[in-house]
């Protein structure tokens, strides 16, 4: 009787312990693509950059963009809305980091923008679920004669189509 009880106990314990031991191994096996897609942690998004030069013509600009929180990677730089800045602007490769970029452009044509215009779109890969915060500094904005002009720079999350 005593032995039967011990045997029963061992069997019961085995039935409990084995699945428990097995569980971590099952968790190690990777999930299917569908589940991964639901819990996706990497997204791509455009960030639109605007400069408002007031009543002055904008002939050149340079700005620095970086993420102060969250994780991003810059994956492309697109031109702006005005014909003078439609070509994708240049970036400084030596200053390029995963989440920081310095972008500049100039135009010497007669048709230059005034007021608030979209001058560039920065394409981003956002890693993780945290929504990034950005810091953007307008290093310089210049008029056709090369003098610095007062201007403000802003950014908004672009729309996806």
């Amino acid at each position: 009787m005593k032995r039967a009880t011990i045997t029963l106990l061992i069997v019961i314990l085995t039935c409990i312990v084995v699945p428990v031991l097995a569980r971590p191994a099952q968790e190690d096996t990777v999930t299917s693509g569908v589940e991964n897609k639901k819990g996706i942690e990497t997204v791509f998004a455009p960030l639109e950059i605007y400069i408002d030069s007031g009543d002055q013509e904008l002939a050149a600009y340079q700005f620095e963009l970086r993420a102060v929180s969250g994780k991003i990677k810059i994956v492309g730089v697109e031109g702006g809305a005005h014909p003078a800045y439609q070509e994708p602007p240049y970036y400084d490769p030596a200053a390029l980091a995963r989440d920081r970029i310095i972008i500049a452009a100039f135009n010497t044509s007669a048709n230059l923008p005034q007021g608030k215009i979209r001058i560039a779109t920065v394409h981003l890969q956002i890693l993780g679920t945290e929504t990034p915060d950005y810091e953007i500094n307008l290093t310089v904005a210049a008029s056709p004669d090369g003098s610095q002009i007062p201007a403000t720079i802003t950014l908004v999350q672009g729309e996806q189509k």
Partner: protein, 752 residues
């Protein structure tokens, strides 16, 4: 005793329970056995399996609504005799390769099965036969899945995602700025990813990368290669239009463009700078149009595989090029224009391989265009133009920015060398007799060797070595260049034909491994198309075995591997020359003999005067041969005028040359110089990698490439259009096949 029996019974029961548990929970045992790598593979397969199942369900829903499509659902190589791909089943009952990423087909212009890839990251290899089963496409068997429109009576046109390549170059002095635009489009009724392996000049400093989607242009970002590849994969899998440019060799690149929707077009623009070669008053601009089929030694996997159209993955090489059959043509064509501004009068222009049109914009400026009648990209575009005088207007070009100053200096051999006679020579001719040389290339090479043999002097000795799968030679030792021996040598050369592989290492060993005759100047001439995938091994062997020899490499053919031939000559302290199929071998050999018939200026040193210079490439100044200047590229500080003094030895004599230099000359400046210098530095570090195991070298290459925004083996350009997400995860991968280079026989080079 009873206790022992009791314990044994208990253990048996537990064991049975464990056994039963493991049988009913197979995932348990599987997961324990999986290594991390296997787990990742398993994850990928599981994901792919689900996608496949989903696509099957969708396909079944569609097929229920209309007549079944001609193409299959899963793509598996069929038997060697039926060709193409068939639905389901296995190959020879032993191997099953299933492309799980292939979406179900719709009616209309579907992607030919033959274009579908079997690359490692997109197939799930369930089992592989011990002996690989080749899939033969006869191109005629119904159901093989190729969609072809008739071009003319003899050629079939293959609809492909690469429609057109436009090349627009501007040459200032001896520096070219070239814009290459590849126009991709999707002629099918489902989303695709296009993959195109293409060549650029081996010294191209690839600086800019722009992706155009509709009227929007997105500048690509330079990243570490692995990071860029990962971003690309993620963007592709999420349905974003993305493009990735990677470098496989300094002259071979891969362009990938993901998620091209049906009917849509995407342009990729690449900009590069490079320096032109200059010989005896002639500049040479080269734009390669096709990657030649490479031979890879058995066991290698890092090479460049050459496979038949539709046989993706069959070479087992990291990079693979698909070749069209001789009777097939893709719709891909090429246009090319050059704006040449030399600064001195242009006297003559010659295009060796193509028909061109030219118009003069003044004595020093000319526009040259490729004729529309000659727009098949199957051979190098080679343009040579002669300028007034035997020297450039200015050999020095500079550029300064916030990082400092950069310069290139073309260094001329002294004219006085032309008045001196050379020492006796030990001439070793090494002829590539592999299959790719068969036909016109080997005929040209043989003509060249015979011409060279006839020019040998009585004090010279010579040897002729041939190699393909192995190497053999005229005799055990070099023989004196007597009339009788030259006759024997010519007879031997005439008997050689092209077939088999390209085991160039055997040719290198045979040419460099025997004892050098100290009374003679040993010169090794390689005649080859350079169609090999193991360039690094060859360069390492030259570095190790060169000794007192000098290597002159002759590229023979319409689209040779200039990267290999240039590097062989540089490492071999000699020079390189190219014999196109339209060139006169005799004329080239005469120039070669003019070059070697005078002593070289050796042990060259430079006194830079007031100029503070650093990081000059090449690090060691090579010997200066008559008529063959070399280009030095470096950094400098300072400005104003100075004099550069060059010293070297000609036999026992010392020669000095003085070059006046004006760093403030605004007419001799070029904004691309910083990139040209950085590209030279990368080349120098890459050369070191062929013989030096220093683990810091890749990091140094990467650092230079990232700082200057340049392509390298360790960096890549990535561009993602995050503003538009296409439906579905990603499209079917379609490789862009190319024609075999002009003059190269398909049947002797494409083995898979």
């Amino acid at each position: 005793m009873k206790t022992i029996i009791f314990l044994i019974k208990t253990i048996v029961i537990v064991a049975i329970l464990l056994l039963l548990y493991s049988i009913f929970t197979p995932a348990l045992s599987r997961s324990r056995e999986l290594s991390q790598k296997q787990k990742e593979e398993y994850e990928r397969n599981m994901r792919a399996q689900e996608e496949y199942c989903r696509s099957l369900e969708e396909a079944e829903k569609r097929s229920a609504k209309r007549a079944p499509s001609r193409t299959g659902r899963a793509f598996m190589p069929s038997s060697p005799t039926t060709g193409g791909y068939t639905e389901g089943g296995s190959v020879g009952g032993s191997s099953v390769i299933v492309d799980l990423n292939v979406a179900p087909r719709r009616a209309g212009r579907s992607i030919p099965d033959i274009l579908l890839p079997c690359s490692a990251d997109e197939i799930w290899v369930i089992a592989r036969a011990e002996t690989a089963v080749a899939v033969v496409d006869d191109g005629e068997t119904p159901g093989c899945g190729t969609l072809m429109g008739k071009l003319d009576d003899t050629e079939d046109e293959v609809p492909l995602p690469l429609k057109h390549t436009d090349v627009a170059g501007h040459i200032a002095g001896y520096i070219a700025t070239v814009d290459v635009t590849q126009q991709f489009h999707n002629p099918y009724d489902e989303k695709i990813e296009a993959v195109y392996v293409f060549p650029l000049p081996q010294n191209a400093a690839v600086k800019e990368f722009i992706m155009t989607v509709g009227d929007r242009k997105i500048r690509g970002i330079i990243r570490e290669r692995e990071e860029a590849e990962q971003i690309y994969r993620e963007a592709r899998n999420q349905g974003y239009v993305a493009s990735l440019l990677t470098q496989e060799r300094p002259n071979i690149f891969t362009q990938k463009v993901a998620n091209i929707e049906p009917g849509k077009a995407i342009d990729i623009n690449i900009k590069y700078f490079n320096t032109l070669t200059y010989r005896d008053g002639w500049y040479e601009f080269v734009f390669p149009m096709v990657v030649g089929p490479r031979f890879n030694p058995p066991g290698s996997t890092e090479g460049v595989g050459a496979v038949a159209y539709g046989k993706s993955g069959s070479s087992d090489q990291k990079t693979e090029v698909q070749y069209l059959k001789p009777d097939q043509r893709s719709g891909h064509d090429i246009s090319l224009s050059l704006d040449i501004d030399t600064g001195v009068t242009i006297e003559e222009v010659v295009s060796t391989n193509h028909v061109i049109t030219q118009s003069s914009l003044g004595p020093e400026r000319m526009l040259v265009s490729l004729s529309a009648r000659d727009n098949i990209p199957n051979k190098d575009f080679v343009l040579r133009y002669r300028v007034a005088g035997r020297k450039l207007k200015s050999g020095l070009v500079t550029y300064q920015d916030e990082r400092g100053g950069y310069f290139t200096l073309m260094l001329y051999p002294p004219d006085s060398l032309r008045h001196l006679k050379r020492a006796p020579m030990e001439m070793i001719f090494v002829l590539d007799c592999s299959g790719s040389m068969s036909g016109a290339p080997i005929a040209k090479a043989k003509d060249a060797i015979i011409r060279a043999l006839k020019k040998l002097g009585p004090d010279d000795t010579f040897q002729v070595i041939r190699f393909s799968n192995n190497a053999s030679q005229l005799g055990p030792q070099p023989v004196p260049a007597t009339e009788e021996n030259i006759r024997k040598g010519i007879k031997y050369v005439e008997s050689l034909n092209g077939s088999g592989g390209t085991m160039m290492i055997e040719g290198i060993k045979a040419a460099l491994d025997f004892e050098h005759d100290p009374r003679r100047f040993r010169l090794v001439s390689f005649m080859t198309d350079g169609y090999i995938g193991n360039e690094v091994e060859i360069m390492g062997a030259i570095q190790q075995k060169l000794g007192a020899s000098r290597i002159f490499s002759f590229g023979v053919g319409s689209s040779v591997n200039r990267y290999l031939l240039d590097r062989m000559a540089k490492l071999g302290k000699g020079a390189v020359a190219y014999i196109g199929l339209g060139d006169s071998a005799g004329q080239l050999i005469d120039q070669f003999y003019d070059c070697i018939s005078h002593p070289a200026l050796t042990d060259v040193t430079i006194d830079w005067g007031n100029l503070e210079v650093s990081d000059i490439y090449p690090r060691q100044i090579p010997d200066l041969f008559v008529g063959r200047p070399i280009i030095l590229t470096g950094r400098f500080t300072g400005s104003g005028e100075t004099a550069v003094r060059i010293s070297g030895n000609v036999g026992d004599m010392t020669q000095d040359i003085t070059i006046p230099v004006n760093l403030s000359d605004n007419n001799a400046q070029h904004a691309g110089l910083a990139c040209v210098w950085a590209r030279k530095k990368i080349e120098d570090l890459s050369n070191q990698l062929t013989y030096d195991n220093n683990s810091d070298l890749p990091g140094e290459i990467k650092k230079v490439a990232l700082n200057y925004g340049l392509m390298s083996a360790y960096t890549a350009f990535i561009a993602v259009d995050s503003a538009h997400q296409t439906d579905g995860d990603h499209g079917v991968t379609v490789n862009v096949p190319v024609p075999v280079p002009d003059g190269v026989r398909y049947d002797t080079t494409i083995s898979y």
